[in-house]
């Protein structure tokens, strides 16, 4: 059985790739060094936690990429980035539901500036460079985990699929 940390990281990468492919035609995801944000100028962070773990998820990119590939207006770049990070975190949360995890999500925090980078004060972090048509973005997840946590799949707990509609 994979460790809980491995489950988190694998599902994070899967959520990232799936989300990008909702917006762009091609997406290559590769492991990168922590703090690697090229010369990005917009960053969004969303928190996710329950009693057994806490994670922070950060997404960085250049404004031009957010405008050209993710339909942001020039004034709405930070807001759009926040929503993308929100969707990335929500997608991860949905994937974790089959393990019985029901964490809480924060609202996004966004910063627009120049030469931004992200460093983590706690937990082990993983980082991915995502090459999409039109440029590059970086997604990182910092994870503090109860090391005794064991995750067992229960498909009956699966969340609704992204893009789906359900009437009550």
């Amino acid at each position: 059985m994979p460790s809980a940390r491995t489950v988190f990281i694998e599902n994070f990468q899967a959520a990232l790739t799936e989300l990008m492919l909702c917006y762009v035609e091609s997406c290559e995801c590769e492991v990168s060094a922590l703090g690697d944000c090229a010369d990005h100028n917009v960053v969004a962070v969303v928190g996710l936690c329950d009693d057994s773990f806490r994670a922070s998820i950060a997404l960085t990119a250049e404004s031009d990429l957010v405008i050209s590939q993710f339909n942001a207006t020039p004034e709405g770049v930070a807001d759009c980035m926040g929503e993308l990070c929100n969707q990335l975190t929500g997608r991860l949360k949905n994937k974790l539901s089959i393990f019985g995890l029901q964490p809480n999500m924060s609202t996004p925090t966004t910063i627009r500036g120049s030469l931004l980078s992200v460093s983590w004060l706690a937990g082990n972090a993983c980082s991915y460079r995502v090459r999409v048509s039109g440029g590059l973005c970086v997604a990182q997840m910092s994870l503090v985990l109860d090391e005794s946590l064991e995750l067992t799949e229960n498909l009956e707990l699966a969340s609704m699929a992204e893009g789906s509609l359900s009437f009550f």
């Binding site: 909702c22 917006y23 339909n71 942001a72 207006t73 709405g76 807001d79 759009c80 926040g82 929503e83 929100n86 969707q87 975190t89 929500g90 997608r91 949360k93 949905n94 539901s97 029901q102 999500m105 924060s106 609202t107 707990l157 969340s159 609704m160 699929a161 992204e162 893009g163 789906s164 509609l165 359900s166 009437f167 009550f168």
Partner: protein
């Protein structure tokens, strides 16, 4: 009172429905609003649950599209608050959120929401849902 209500209902039959979009992300409000406006709906915006409650209680809203995770008042609490008023019992509210957990969906259903869409949304699906929820009875 009865006559003026009937006149009001008749007038609204010939108007396009007004949809309130409640989301803390301006990008989402713009995207959803553009999609709905293109097919003739009138659109209003609120940036959190508190503002959503105010706009709904002010009247004139035919259907609500509401996010869940928002500052000040989240979407599920907004639905509970809105539905506690008799005048809003029949107002259709659809949740549009990144989350899809069964527990959360059940909470929203119990609060009085009538549907759930997991982001990112498909424009045609959203339009079909809102058209269905705002369809007016044919006049004889």
């Amino acid at each position: 009172m009865r006559v003026s209500n009937a006149a009001y209902d008749l007038e609204r039959c010939f108007m396009s429905a007004t949809i309130l979009i409640v989301d803390d992300s301006e990008s989402v409000r713009q995207q959803v609003g553009t999609v709905l406006a293109q097919v003739g709906f009138r659109v209003e915006h609120a940036c959190d649950g508190l503002q959503g409650v105010e706009k709904i209680n002010a009247g004139g809203i035919d259907c609500v599209i509401c996010d869940v995770n928002m500052p000040n008042m989240n979407g599920v609490v907004m639905v509970e608050t809105v539905k506690s008023k008799e005048q809003n019992k029949s107002l259709p509210i659809v949740m549009l959120t990144t989350e899809g957990s069964k527990e959360l969906i059940q909470r929203a259903k119990q609060a009085g929401a009538c549907g759930w869409i997991v982001k990112p949304f498909k424009a045609e699906l959203l339009i079909a849902a809102i058209q269905k929820l705002t369809a007016k009875p044919q006049l004889a």
